[in-house]
Amino acid sequence: MDSITQGFIKAFGLIVHLDAELIGIILLTFEVSGVALLLSVIGGVPAGAATGLARFPGRGFVISVMNTLTGLPPVVVGLFVYLLLSRSGPLGFMGLLYTPSAMVIAQTVLALPIVAALCHSAVVAVDQAVRQAAVSLGATPFQTIITIIREARYGILSAVIAAFGRVMAEVGAILIVGGNIAGSTRVMTTTIALETDKGNFELALALGTILLALSFAINAVLHIVQRRGGVHA
């Protein structure tokens, strides 16, 4: 019990004194997760909106695949991305393995289906009467699509926040493709795993506390967004 208390005290000290190693790890975490989230939004929002708005052959299959991919096991994604980027893999010539870029790729593979599937649900949930009202009031097909996406904005924002939560908490895939190299690919979750293994609980606890605070903040924002959108969680 004493060691846990001591660990928390030291962790608090690291946070208060803005420990350089701690700050470096946090910044890299935000950089990797931020870029992965951005790519997921760029790909996922149009994909979700398209499957929600358009009718095309194979749409049901695409939606099923999209929903299935939301539950991808991170270590499996890590394994596939590793095989793709490894020296003997098809993308090995790019030399991305054990770099932040590889971590971004793995996180994007995990987050993009979440953004797409939740955006699809948000767009589909927009009342058909809203679409008919837009058309009846003289909106062009493009203006109608924009109107529907705007009506789904709270659901889309929820999708983005949910995906951010996923990438921030991710450990398995990025550990495999990033290698957890100090000062290069070491992020919050992988550091917690490593430091716990080594018995250095101070840094692990400090990062764990920050990660928990972030998780709480993300959920609080999600709750506010859902309330504003009239979706009471």
């Binding site: 809203v130 679409r131 008919q132 009846s136 009031l137 003289g138 909106a139 709270y154």
Partner: protein, 220 residues
């Protein structure tokens, strides 16, 4: 030149069940028509097809300005509008809901504000301009739908069951709005209702639909 609408031999089926069976009528400009008839007689389907919101299986919907037939394009669609029984409220303020039709037409800000406020005042919602539209009562929501349509000053205004699911007080308010609208020169209003009394109160010309056809036509 006011728009005329000619519907010829309109037929429509849903899942093999015929709803409209060769429905025809010629709507002249500047008149208020009320389509009445029992539930399932095809009133709303006929209205949606006439308002170009739904495609018929057979027959033709043609619009004329004078003797000239209008192409079925965006320009024509922007001269008419339909207020549906379910208004389809946008998740924003009352003002932005009513301004929507003007915004998609690229109306200048000053004119947009003036016409939106006029439409809101016409239906008695001007004091609620900044309220979120989703918080309005059902009667107010119906009035919002009418204000949204009025803001764009359509030449033909279709109102599908404008007082369905509305209390007596709001029914009277909405009927009052429609009566004042009728006094505006040149506008054609086509209303559906299953309330025969309302049809008598509002119609210049009353049409009775039965089994997917217009079976009776009476001048008031």
């Amino acid at each position: 030149m006011s728009l005329r609408l000619i519907a010829s031999q309109i037929s429509k089926s849903y899942g093999g069940r015929p709803v409209l069976r060769g429905c025809s009528f010629s709507f002249e400009g500047g008149t208020t028509y009320v389509l009445t008839g029992p539930n399932g007689s095809g009133k709303s389907t006929f209205l949606r097809i006439c308002a170009l919101l739904e495609q018929q299986d057979g027959g033709e919907v043609r619009y004329f300005s004078g003797d000239q037939e209008m192409p079925r394009d965006m320009a024509l669609r922007r001269r008419i509008t339909l207020v549906l029984p379910q208004v389809g409220v946008f998740n924003t303020t009352v003002f932005k809901n009513v301004a929507y039709g003007l915004a998609v037409r690229g109306t200048k800000r000053h004119e947009l504000k003036e016409r939106t406020m006029n439409a809101l005042a016409f239906v008695g919602l001007d004091t609620k301009r900044d309220q979120r539209a989703l918080t309005l009562s059902s009667g107010e929501t119906k009035r919002l739908g009418i204000a949204r349509a009025l803001a764009i000053e359509p030449e033909i205004l279709f109102l599908d069951e404008p007082t369905a699911s509305v209390d007596q007080e709001n029914t009277e308010i909405i009927e009052g709005i429609i009566t004042r609208l009728k006094q505006q020169h040149g506008r054609t209003i086509i209303i559906t209702t299953h309330d025969a009394g309302q049809a008598d109160r509002l119609a210049d010309r009353k049409l009775v639909m039965k089994n997917g056809k217009i079976e009776e036509y009476a001048k008031k």
